[in-house]
Subunit: 201 residues, 2 copies
């Protein structure tokens, strides 16, 4: 396989990229913007070498702990569980959560609720083991996938002594967290629905 075919094959590994889109990308990278292409090689190579998952919250980060998990001023008793890294950024911009986060890095497909491999459940259980967390805020989206994910999480913690809530439905149905304005996000945190009161204490 020649260098051009190899590039097309590699570009098709990107989500939703077919042959035609890959050819258009190759044209941009090899013809219109070779400097940009070199920048992409550099940025992706650097990202692969330096970006890993935070040992606590599973978000992308370049050190063992991300800045939020390493911040002693955050309340370690309140854990907000989100789907994606962009959700953490959106929530931080809304300044309505002073606790810590956990990033699932995915969501549950409601058609395959038994397949939990798309979310970082093992890491979440390990994160909670022996931790001072007593409140869990499920901040998954109000979509079919977000609902299925919230259901799985609520089931997982049913027998555990955590207070568990989910973001209020102030968040527009069907939209992703990162596109919601800060005021609506803050409202949804404030009006979060109690799914289960603290027990076992």
């Amino acid at each position: 396989m020649n260098a051009y075919s190899q590039l097309i094959t590699a570009l098709r590994l990107l989500p939703n990229v077919g042959v035609k889109t890959a050819q258009r990308m190759a044209h941009t990278l090899l013809h219109q913007n070779r400097a940009g292409a070199a920048q992409l090689v550099q940025a992706l190579d650097n990202a692969l070498k330096n970006i890993h998952n935070c040992q606590m919250c599973h978000d992308f980060c370049e050190s063992e702990l991300c800045a939020i998990c390493a911040n002693p001023q955050r309340d370690p008793s309140r854990l907000m569980i989100v789907q994606m890294p962009a959700d953490v950024a959106a929530m931080e911009a809304a300044r309505c959560h002073d606790g810590l986060y956990f990033v699932l890095m995915g969501q549950v497909n409601p058609a395959q609720e038994m397949d939990l491999s798309s979310i970082a459940l093992q890491q979440l259980v390990a994160r909670l083991s022996g931790s001072p967390v007593n409140e869990i805020i499920i901040a998954t989206a109000h979509t079919a996938e977000g609902d299925a994910t919230a259901y799985i999480l609520a089931e997982l913690f049913k027998e555990q002594p955590y207070k568990i809530s989910r973001l209020a439905r102030g968040i527009p149905l069907g939209s992703e967290l990162e596109y919601v304005d800060a005021g609506t996000l803050a409202q949804a945190v404030y009006e979060r629905n109690l799914l289960k009161e603290t027990t076992g204490e």
Copy 2:
């Protein structure tokens, strides 16, 4: 700017990739398929180092001359001008042109017909200078852009002694060459319309 932001910025250099798509790509590359991401780094780096433009036809290639231009069995008197590398591949698969090619690497925007920087006109003029070409087949698409490009080329060669033709309209309107079946492509070459008879001899 951290490694993640740099990656998002670099991915947005790809055509039609906004913030949301770049985040989805980053998630695929950093979380779901790091081996594929390494493959992309390797393929793009290799492509940038090895792929250049053929000195004759301007198509992407890994040596000074591509296999077609270097083939002494091709008829050097007939030059087919196409928009993109994929068009050469489609035409070769149709086995209906035994001459050489020139790849414009773009098309003219009919709204900006005076802006010719999107096609390799300078290289085309240099390619033709002193060459044995006596027939030019304009194989641009039957789209607004392809029509504008064909018009510019016909104007460019108006005073030159080339026989000039354009692919017959057997090619479906609005579709790209590479998606047309081989039989239709061959028919369009066979029925190509004469735009100007040879002169000056």
